[in-house]
């Protein structure tokens, strides 16, 4: 799936991993999250090699991370408040009063303090993503992973999420890895970009550098051209042959 990946993500930066669907970027994110182990090579995350960790060490590492899933993955049997409070109740001995204050603080940061008593089914897609963001930063993680955070959002919600990703990262002093194929929203937001194709990194640099990189795949991806290194047509025999016209032509 992935080949020859050599990736450095500096502390405190917002880094995007971009590429078309199926290029391996979500697999890369799962390796960073230690949900998958590389079959060759190693992944060092927050100073620890993920392949060397036992279950307790892995869970200790994950307590230092937050992850925003593509569609939020909110717990549907809990209110917005309980979703954000979940990790605090599971991993800390904080009294309920303190948890309440912290949850309201997180929800205020994403603009949804008033939605605390709602159930996930009562939220719009954008609101659910913001609640998931509040949940991801509940324990002030050092590393925040975003899996397609902009997918399926309307332009307003998309802008809100993009702004929050940057603001929260700067406020927390965290490191962020965003896996996405949304060029327009992501490039203005991030410090560094990796472009992936067929399981390999094909281009990297600051947003300005990748825009003028001259790599055909990147240019096609950034401009959204329908044809180029990634062809419009799926490989097939000649159209005439498929229509039975080849012999007479």
């Amino acid at each position: 799936m992935l080949h020859g990946i050599d990736l450095d993500i500096p502390r405190g930066k917002v880094v995007a991993v971009m590429g078309q669907s199926g290029c391996g970027k979500t697999t890369l994110l799962r390796i960073i999250a230690a949900a998958l182990l590389p079959t060759r090579g190693r992944a060092r995350v927050l100073g620890q090699v993920t392949g060397d960790l036992d279950r307790d060490a892995l869970y200790a590492l994950r307590r230092r991370m937050g992850m925003l899933y593509q569609f939020g993955a909110l717990f549907t049997d809990m209110t917005v408040f309980d979703n954000v409070a979940f990790q605090m109740r599971e991993h800390t001995n904080l009294p309920e009063d303190a948890i309440r204050d912290l949850v309201l603080l997180k929800l205020e940061a994403v603009g949804l303090r008033g939605a605390a008593p709602l159930m996930p089914a009562e939220l719009s897609g954008g609101m659910a993503r913001r609640v998931a963001l509040a949940r991801a930063i509940a324990l002030d993680p050092e590393l925040i992973l975003y899996d397609e955070p902009f997918t399926g959002l309307d332009p307003i919600a998309l802008g809100v999420i993009a702004r929050l990703v940057r603001q929260l990262n700067d406020a927390l002093g965290a490191t962020a890895v965003i896996v996405t194929h949304d060029v327009a929203e992501t490039l203005p937001l991030v410090d560094y970009v990796y472009f992936m194709a067929d399981g390999r990194v094909v281009a990297q640099g600051t947003p300005a550098e990748v825009r003028r990189s001259g790599v055909p795949f990147v240019e096609q991806f950034v401009s959204g051209a329908t044809d180029g290194p990634v062809p419009f047509h799926y490989p097939a025999q000649g159209y005439g042959a498929d229509l039975g016209l080849a012999a007479s032509a």
Partner: protein, 261 residues
């Protein structure tokens, strides 16, 4: 022929592999059941969903099964002039067999399918992955409370089913048909043995509770995370649980009631 054998071999291998996976899952579940007891509120919540919300179907079914037993039993017994033994027939039928078995089948249909669908949907919507990423073991936090909630609920539901069935038999036999009330209760009291009948019935319902709950949580946890996958898993829960209950009932009955009686 060779293709058929290959297909058969692959199916058997897959079946054995899945059985082994289920056994490992059960071991892991037992080893990580501490949360279900340390934070018993989580298990109580599942007892409510699996047990309390199943009460209506259990009680109504128990009442009707008991009433049918009363009618059928009276019809047969009165031919031999033993209609006073109706209470014994109703009670033994329910406590030994129908209570655990029918309550188990209803529990599998009502609660087992709901448990599978809930866990399967949590998997399909990445809630279990999210939990894992938050350093919370989904088996300990989600699966174990549901499993133990089911195990605890099942014998209680079976007992209520039997009690309601006996009441149904009483309604038909004594109130409707006119069997002597004293004979109905006194013969039942004299003939039903606590250890031989009631305890064995309770053991059956506990075993069924383990089987149905394990199948339900395993199928949900192992479901393909799509709408079709969850649908298939839910169906498998009901079918596998029903067959498991009937097969286990035969084995347990053979062990408990043959030889001694």
């Amino acid at each position: 022929m060779r293709a058929a054998l290959t297909h058969l071999g692959a199916a058997v291998t897959a079946g054995v592999w899945r059985l082994g996976y289920a056994a490992r899952f059960f071991g892991y579940l037992l080893a990580h059941s501490g949360t279900a007891f340390r934070r018993f509120g989580l298990t109580v919540r599942e007892i409510y969903f699996a047990g309390v919300l199943s009460l209506i179907i259990i009680l109504v079914s128990g009442l009707f099964v008991g009433m049918v037993l009363g009618l059928q039993g009276y019809d047969t017994l009165q031919r031999y002039g033993s209609s006073e033994a109706l209470g014994v027939l109703v009670a033994l039928s329910l406590v030994r067999e129908l209570g655990p078995v029918v309550a188990g089948l209803l529990f599998a249909s009502r609660a087992g399918s709901a448990i599978t669908a809930e866990i399967g949907l949590m998997k399909a919507t990445e809630q279990l992955s999210a939990m894992e990423m938050m350093a919370v073991d989904p088996v300990a936090r989600v699966v174990a409370p549901r499993f133990w909630g089911g195990v605890i609920s099942m014998p209680l539901l079976a007992a209520l089913f039997s009690a309601m069935g006996i009441f149904g038999g009483y309604l038909v036999g004594v109130v409707l048909i006119g069997v002597d009330e004293g004979a109905f209760w006194s013969q039942m009291q004299a003939a039903v043995d606590v250890r031989e009948d009631i305890l064995n019935g309770v053991i059956k319902s506990v075993v069924f509770g383990f089987a149905v709950s394990l199948i339900a949580v395993f199928e949900g946890f192992d479901a393909t995370p799509t709408a079709e996958g969850v649908s298939r898993a839910t169906t498998r829960t009901v079918v596998t649980s029903s067959l498991a209950i009937l097969a286990l009932d035969f084995v347990l009955t053979a062990l408990m009631f043959t030889g001694g009686n």
